[in-house]
């Protein structure tokens, strides 16, 4: 029995580590806000969401599989929540009856298995009933397989068989085992045999029948004898107790896996509910294979920023099909960083099977999203900071492969414009020529200008505009980089009219 709701034919690997750049991504793209919105009050989603969101898939078909499952979840969220609650119930019940360490006595382990397995099977049966009632409403391959599995694997005959087996291992007629002789003529290779005494009458309960063989009765008050006898029985039970213990563990693992996989989808449902409540649009992206160089969106917005703001926020259209490099320049506070983030977030959400925050979106897959942002630390020493930037870049390069998507935000500016520009140019061009996709927010004029002069077909120039009165519209336009970023605007706004006066 497998959940298989995140992958068509395998479990999600929950033990896998987050990618090395996970911390950078979370910080630079503000993903914690996204995870929090997904989680709501739930305690499982926070442990699950980062792993799925940051563990992007590189295969279009695998993503379509998830998109379909997510569509089902959005359409029938109450039923999915019910299944999720059942898995939760099983896990909680199991934990409640668990008293700590594994027992040293097979008979105790066996008893625990006999207690928990019926509870597990009862919950599984309730899941099966849900499946029988609602399976037809679900359209995704994932849910269809899941429901039909519940129906076939948990049919009544099977449940009855399990019931019988659990009764047998209560050993009402004694524990029968076959044994061989080992070292020192001690018994070894104990194999437990099924043993049910036919037609037990009252005499046989007291006197063992002859076919039992040579019999020894432990005299009354021989306590060590009784202990030895029960240990002998334990040796026989050992393997069966182990088998039951492991079966319990397996079913528990099924519930745990199911809960984790559903947690991701319910996190998506939660997120969508919040965005929709604000009137923000979401859409399922059209996905192309890596290398297709497709990136085109209408009203692409930064979901994390929106979640933090009261109002709806301004999105951008991104028409970057065929582009390997997007150079973003322009006015301060003009929405450059927001746009860069929205590119990164949309890519990550698409690559884990989620909807994206936009009216419409299509893009090709990457081999991984990376961020290289200006950092605040070590501000006292400019050379040290520049050194740190290069070191981080060096670390990142070790992780890059073709079709990676690298977001630079004001990188290599911790030196003068000329040096910074030269380094930025060399790095950016080297990446692009190696098949990496780059989006670069920069104030380095020489860098941006030089790219503009070359004006390759594969480079897109976006500029954050500034209307003449200094107000910003936050909508980027395809335009030539300018040597100013209108930093004075902000200066004047902050210092107010007095400064304006001084200027004149």
């Amino acid at each position: 029995m497998k959940a298989f709701l995140l992958h068509r034919e395998r479990d999600f690997d929950w033990d896998t580590k987050l990618p090395k750049n996970a911390d950078d991504l979370i910080q630079d793209l503000g993903l914690q806000t996204l995870f929090d919105a997904m989680a709501g009050e739930d305690r499982v989603i926070p442990t699950v969401a980062p792993k799925v969101v940051l563990g992007g898939l590189r295969d279009v078909d695998a993503l379509l599989y998830r998109q379909a499952v997510l569509r089902d979840c959005l359409a029938h969220r109450e039923i999915v929540r019910e299944i999720y609650a059942l898995a939760e119930e099983a896990i909680t019940e199991e934990r409640r009856s668990f008293w700590g360490l594994t027992s040293r006595y097979p008979s105790t382990i066996l008893r625990r298995g006999r207690d928990i397995l019926p509870m597990f099977l009862a919950i599984l049966k309730r899941m099966r009933l849900i499946a029988e009632a609602h399976a037809d409403w679900f359209a995704s391959d994932g849910f269809r397989r899941f429901f039909s599995m519940l129906e076939t694997e948990l049919e009544d005959d099977y449940l009855a068989k399990v019931d019988g087996l659990l009764k047998t291992v209560e050993f009402p007629d004694g524990i029968l085992m076959s044994v061989r002789l080992g070292k020192g003529n001690h018994g070894t290779d104990y194999v437990l045999r099924e043993f049910v005494r036919p037609n037990k009458n009252w005499i046989e309960r007291i006197l063992p029948p002859a076919e039992d063989g040579l019999t020894y009765h432990i005299p009354p008050r021989d306590e060590s004898g009784m202990r030895a006898l029960s240990e002998l029985g334990d040796r026989g039970i050992n393997l069966v107790a182990d088998a039951l213990g492991q079966s319990t563990e397996h079913i528990l693992a099924f519930f745990t896996t199911l809960r984790s996989e559903l947690a991701f989808y319910l996190g998506c449902v939660n997120l969508q509910e919040q965005l929709t409540a604000k009137g923000e649009p979401t859409c399922f992206p059209a996905i192309s294979p890596a290398g297709a160089r497709i990136r085109d969106g209408a009203n692409l917005y930064d979901a994390c920023l929106s979640l933090l703001a009261k109002e709806r926020i301004v999105g951008n259209d991104a028409a970057a099909d065929g582009k390997s490099m997007i150079v973003i320049t322009g006015a301060n506070r003009g929405g450059k960083s927001t746009f860069l983030r929205s590119l990164g977030i949309a890519q990550l959400m698409m690559e884990c099977g989620m909807f994206v925050p936009a009216n419409s979106y299509r893009a090709s897959l990457s081999s991984g999203v990376f961020t290289h942002y200006k950092r605040e630390e070590d501000a006292s020493m400019e050379s040290g900071k520049f050194d740190e930037e290069l070191k981080r870049m060096n670390d990142m390069v070790a992780e890059l492969s073709p079709n990676a998507f690298v977001l630079f935000n004001e990188s290599f500016a911790a030196t003068n414009d000329r040096e910074g520009s030269e380094i930025a140019r060399q790095i950016a061009e080297a990446l692009v020529d190696s098949g990496v996709e780059v989006a670069f927010v920069t104030h380095l004029y020489e860098f941006a200008h030089r790219l503009w002069v070359e004006r390759k077909d594969t480079t897109l120039f976006l500029r954050a505009p500034r209307s003449d009165d200094g107000e910003r519209s936050f909508r980027l336009a395809e335009e030539e980089p300018l040597p100013t970023s209108y930093g004075e605007d902000i200066y004047y706004r902050v210092f107010g009219e007095a400064a304006q006066f001084l200027k004149s």
Partner: protein, 494 residues
């Protein structure tokens, strides 16, 4: 009891390190008996070289492991009470023994085994394996083993009773459970198997069960009784001796490997009974080196040589420069050579001594009623009473507890006697003139570092004892040599 020079030469430490982990074999008595003739030493060298072959070594190790298992099984047997349990341990011991004899015999047949000692033992094994005693043992073991491995029975535990009966046809419940729950399998989970620790002896319920099993297989268990009676003492005496004595070689070889692993050399010394020429290259104090190697420190090696008429090595020089260590090394080298072991160094020639004497400084013994000087003289007198021209005498810092003049007079007197005796001698001393007393004496001096005289080099060189090298280099360091002073004055003048 160890002879008195063991402690002085650290031979006690060497023995402890060499035999560590092999205490059960009681090998120290072998270590206390140096060999008196060259052939006996050569006999050991041959065996030792044979065992340097990896396959031969493995074969002997395997045999030793098996014999340990045999003894352990017999030890277990001796502690047990219940008949069928005891007898089975005896049977298992005998089975291990028979297999070990066979394997050892096969192993010693390989062509690399050439030494007189091992070839003779192999011939013994060939005979022993076809002896009536051994064949009977092997046959009995085989038939009983087969019988017992075929024993199966059912045990039924219920209420306050336990029953034993021949094996039935009932379904394996474990398989039934695994099969039933197989559809839930999710990959590896932790094991819930409980480990039952064998407490060694059967409890009285298990004894009962075994008794019933014996009743199910009466003939087999009667045979088992007979086996124990018939083969009360099955280990052959010669085999037992081999098992012990071969460990001496393995221990010595493993000990040498400790040094080889640290890139220190060991070698089989040439032992020439006719000549008093002794020499060693890149040699070292094994006891000291063993400690240093354990902490990955550097070990300094030295050379020495006495040839022609030379008999006495006089070692002088600054303190803590490795003088005593070299004296000790000289003694160790000769003693280990006389045991037929590998010795420290890339090359060595040793003398086959009749007795080895040491005189190292002793703690004053208040109970003796004698002063320290008196005690020293008495001990040396005793040595000279017993020493012959074939003895080795090692003197360390004699007469340290008197005035320089007295010491010099006394030491020269003693040295005259040793020179007259023509014995080999090493003398560590601060009395420089001993070094040039005669053409029979050779002077070795501990070397100081030219740049930093405070640094110990632990190297010793063969050269006259002038007592100057150390002082000169110290002066250099403080800028007080002639040239340095000259330069300094010139600067001042200008």
């Amino acid at each position: 009891m160890d002879p008195p020079f063991f402690a002085d030469l650290y031979l006690d430490q060497i023995a402890d390190a060499m035999f560590a982990g092999r205490e059960a074999y009681d090998l120290k008595p072998l270590f206390r008996v140096p060999l008196g003739d060259v052939d006996a030493i050569g006999y050991r060298h041959e065996i030792s070289r044979d065992l340097e072959n990896d396959e031969a070594r493995k074969c002997v190790d395997t045999f030793a492991d098996a014999m340990r298992a045999v003894r352990a099984a017999l030890e277990t047997e001796s502690k047990l009470r219940y008949r069928y349990e005891r007898e089975r341990w005896r049977l298992d011991a005998a089975e291990t023994y028979c297999a070990a004899i066979g394997n050892l015999n096969e192993g010693l047949r390989r062509p690399s085994v050439r030494s007189h000692g091992l070839v003779a033992f192999r011939d013994f094994l060939e005979q022993y394996r076809t002896s009536e005693t051994f064949l009977r043992l092997a046959d009995d073991v085989a038939s009983l083993r087969m019988g017992l491995s075929g024993v199966t029975y059912d045990v039924l535990v219920g209420g306050e009773r336990v029953s034993v009966r021949p094996c039935g046809e009932e379904r394996d419940l474990v398989e039934a459970v695994l099969e039933t729950f197989s559809r839930f399998r999710q990959g590896a989970t932790k094991s819930y198997l409980v480990t039952f620790y064998d407490r060694g002896a059967l409890n009285h319920i298990e004894e009962k069960v075994l008794e019933f099993v014996a009743q199910l297989y009466p003939e087999l268990f009667t045979e088992l009784d007979r086996f124990a009676e018939r083969h009360a003492d099955f280990i052959d005496e010669t085999v037992a001796r081999f098992d012990r004595e071969i460990q001496f070689y393995l221990a010595a070889s493993d000990y040498a490997k400790i040094f080889e692993a640290a890139e220190l050399r060991t070698c089989y010394p040439r032992v020439d009974p006719a000549s008093k020429t002794v020499r060693a290259r890149e040699t070292y104090d094994m006891a000291l080196a063993h400690r240093i190697v354990a902490t990955n420190g550097p070990v300094v090696t030295n050379d020495f040589e006495l040839s022609g008429l030379e008999r006495v090595l006089v070692i002088s020089g600054p303190n803590q420069g490795g003088k005593t260590t070299l004296a000790r090394t000289f003694g160790q080298l000769h003693y280990l050579a006389a045991l037929g072991c590998r010795v420290a160094g890339s090359e060595a020639t040793t003398f086959l001594f009749d007795e080895l004497f040491t005189h190292f400084e002793r703690q004053e013994d208040p109970a003796s009623g004698r002063g320290k000087l008196e005690d020293d003289i008495l001990r040396i007198h005793d040595i000279l009473e017993h020493a012959t021209s074939n003895s080795i005498i090692i003197l360390n810092e004699i007469f340290a507890s008197t005035t320089a003049r007295d010491a010099s007079v006394l030491a020269r007197a003693i040295m005259e006697r040793i020179l007259a005796l023509d014995a080999l001698c090493v003398c560590v001393t601060f009395i420089d003139e001993l070094a040039s007393m005669s053409e029979k004496t050779v002077s070795m001096v501990s070397v100081v570092d030219a740049v930093d005289p405070g640094k110990r080099t632990f190297r010793l060189e063969r050269r006259p004892a002038d007592g100057l090298a150390y002082a000169l280099s110290l002066a250099e360091r403080y800028g007080l040599t002639y040239d340095r002073l000259h330069d300094r004055f010139k600067k001042v003048e200008r």
